[in-house]
Symmetry: C2
Subunit: 248 residues, 2 copies
Amino acid sequence: MRPVLALAAHELFPGDLDPVPAAICLEIIHTYSLIHDDLPAMDNSDLRRGAPSCHRAFDEATAILAGDALIPLAFEKLATEYADHPEIALSLINSLARASGSECLVGGQMEDLLAEGQKPDEAILAYVHQNKTAAMIEASLVMGFRLGKKGDDIPMLDLMKNAGRSLGLAFQAVDDLLDVTSSSAELGKDAGNDNRNKKMTWVNMLGETKARELAKSHTEDALNAVRQVGGETQFLLELIEAMLIRVN
Amino acid sequence: MRPVLALAAHELFPGDLDPVPAAICLEIIHTYSLIHDDLPAMDNSDLRRGAPSCHRAFDEATAILAGDALIPLAFEKLATEYADHPEIALSLINSLARASGSECLVGGQMEDLLAEGQKPDEAILAYVHQNKTAAMIEASLVMGFRLGKKGDDIPMLDLMKNAGRSLGLAFQAVDDLLDVTSSSAELGKDAGNDNRNKKMTWVNMLGETKARELAKSHTEDALNAVRQVGGETQFLLELIEAMLIRVN
């Protein structure tokens, strides 16, 4: 989903630069994070994308190393694929490194683990969702947009960041809902894992109705931000709307 | 040691660019690799740099995430610290990403694990040492040199690569020797771990005397390559010589 978001963001003001390599790099980082999150020391998930998770299909060492290999691959690919535009390449590397670093993806996952079994706390949950999930979705929109014709327009980039953050928060609220309303077969990953791991989720904290309202309101914010950016918005707006009603 | 090698390589033809940030990034990647290699699923080491290894001091999830956070930090730092020289920044990112990727650091570690308990095989052992150890030492010399005045001289860069590869192979042969001749207190890490993990090492395969000869001959190759590059070689030559007689 993250790569498609990058392509859709690029569609707003498409230019000569190919957004596909950047989209692939986003998926590379996302995939590493799933492989590591599934490990027994973290979420201990047996199923991923409808197949045994990496450490179940192989072993723990292989899963750790597969993740470790994917991270530098993403940065190598950005450095080589956009070598003819070194400043843009550096900006993409910076966006992806920050989104996947200690203050975002990894920090969010760490807080998520620390929060397991703790007293529900909205501030902690907002931090986790913002950093574990929304930061990479924000990076997807920003990186795709950065490769378009208006990629150096700072106010537009800020709007894309806002859109990405709101979409990320909506996405995670929907994820929390799906974990309780869907089956493992539908999700392609272990359903009910949040409760098993005593995760803090919006569903646990607010109930299903309010969690759904939250997802809706964040989705509206994302749509509005994209409309403000303008350009060929149709694909991205439809994608954001579809994410609210997704079933897996 | 890797950061100092980068600084020494930079000393050959020092220029205006500061090699310290690049040296720090090399140490960041090296540190992540130690944290992950020490994990129970890999080398299962309790002691590192004279203190409990990361997963012993904290827990496995924290150690996995600490490593995961360090990798993008190195690339973010290279992208920001050398932002005024985007082409050099990309070249550094490329060197570090390749050295730490699936074909070098991670590939070497994977082969190392697969080789545990297997029939001794010189080709496999050479592959492991070349990729698990020598590639990052090669990157240290190349990255330090790249930031100096002659950093875009391709024949010189090739010689620095050769020097790094030879030095890396010498370093690993000395490491194999120290694992059997030193104590954990001297090493600051678990001595005898290679035998416990049934690792393939030059000592196991060739015996101590021949392993020592191998270390010497690779060291000579490294010294010769550096002498051919020229410039202010004294610091780097002394460092390479010191690495042969190190005790930890």
